[in-house]
């Protein structure tokens, strides 16, 4: 295993500024056991010399927790979007191709701007309103088995991998993507959040909402947290169908 002369080759898609053209640069670094993509990128940052032996600018990327819970270090590794912190070099085919998730605006090199996801969470009201002008007292209790079920949905770290994998999230389509949809299901399942269920469903029924899903189901295959995204989408399809019937035929829109 520990072959001291072993090298690891990287082909990295780089971009100097948000406006400039992207280009590819190759790097070759010394192999170390248990290396992951981030530790390799740190090695390049420490010694920014490309495979041709030329000194270059260090590669920029985003990272934070280094244990796949923050979602910041997502990038396209060998064609598929995932977190670079848990992408182990031993398990990757070489040369390892690193690209930014181009579904999002690329800031520089592998660093992207995921603001649109946070805007989407605001749009679908992915929170539970608890503020009042006086103490509202404790809310309704949540059954323990339901809490455990909801916990799975709450694992979403807005990493953007599902949006990158989705064929319907692109420049021609204003689809908000799977992650914020599933968050609606999470907050609608909460006993207090449920009180604002209709508001969130209405938001999903707006342009670029739930209806733009084309059921390619790449999201559920790609989610690093194993969130049942397509089950959430189908469940919301049912909820919004019922909501639209209520809106049209009923008087009780809530």
């Amino acid at each position: 295993m520990a072959d001291t002369n072993k090298k690891v080759r990287f082909i990295i898609t780089r971009k100097d500024s948000p406006e400039s053209e992207s280009y590819k640069e190759e790097f070759e670094i010394e192999y170390r056991p248990n290396m992951n993509v981030i530790s390799a990128l740190m090695e390049i940052r420490r010694n920014p010399v490309n495979a041709q032996g030329k000194t270059t600018t260090p590669v920029i990327w985003d990272m934070n927790c280094l244990e796949e819970v923050c979602g910041a270090c997502s990038m396209v590794i060998n064609g598929k979007a995932r977190q670079s912190c848990t992408a182990l070099v031993d398990q990757l085919e070489q040369p390892i191709r690193l690209e930014p998730m181009k579904t999002f605006p690329v800031v520089r090199d592998l660093m992207i701007d995921r603001s649109r996801m946070f805007d989407s969470l605001k749009r679908v009201k992915a929170w539970i309103p608890i503020d009042g002008t006086y103490d509202l007292g404790p809310g309704p209790r949540m059954a323990e088995n339901k809490r455990q079920w909801a916990y799975e949905l709450s694992k979403c770290m807005t990493c953007g991998v599902c949006l990158e994998a989705c064929p319907n999230v692109n420049d021609n389509n204003d689809f908000i993507g799977p992650a914020p949809l599933s968050q609606v299901r999470l907050f609608n399942a909460h006993p207090t959040g449920e009180m604002n269920k209709a508001e969130r469903l209405e938001a999903l029924m707006g342009d670029g909402g739930l209806a733009d899903c084309g059921n390619a189901q790449n999201c559920v295959q790609s989610c690093p947290k194993g969130i049942p995204l397509t089950t959430s989408i189908a469940a919301l399809n049912r909820d919004t169908a019922l909501q639209s019937f209520k809106n049209f035929f009923g008087s009780d829109k809530l």
Partner: protein
Amino acid sequence: MAENREFMNRRLHSLLGVIPIGVFLTQHLIINHFATQGEAAFNSAAGFMGNLPFVIFLEFILIYIPILFHAIYGLFIVFQTKNNTKRYGYFRNQMFLLQRITGVILVVFIAWHVWETRVQAALGAEVNYDMMVDILSSPFMLIFYIIGVISATFHFANGLWSFFVSWGLTVSPRSQHIMTYVSIVVFVVLSIIGMRALFAFVS
């Protein structure tokens, strides 16, 4: 309703694909299947359909308007997509791509098919067994019709699967998985009916 236009359009698009278009496709292929019992059987079945009371209203309300909406809105959906089956070669993603490819084929095929049969009938030609024998005597047209019919049965069967998801009928992964098998059966059965009818005009 106006503020949720896209939502309503997508739902309507999904619904129309099954009712009435899917129902019409099934009925159309079954009527065609009479050709396997000979010229007289086909002509009497086609004649019965063609002489239904209020046939022109039935055609517009149940066939032309729904198909036109489904086709135009469907093309809009196709242009909203950037397919990534090379990177994500999962089964459902392949089906997603095939649904769009067959949809575009069908716009061309149905336009030609309607021109060749229904429009010609309106211009005075008689739609019967001989007309189909004549059309399918050209090997090029036979291949075009085979592709057209297979595209239609695939597009309907796979569309039925996504109809069940889009309306929230099949929510759990298990129900969606079983629905995949159901849609495969629908595809195979309708394709056999369609092909048998098609080749009845050839031999």
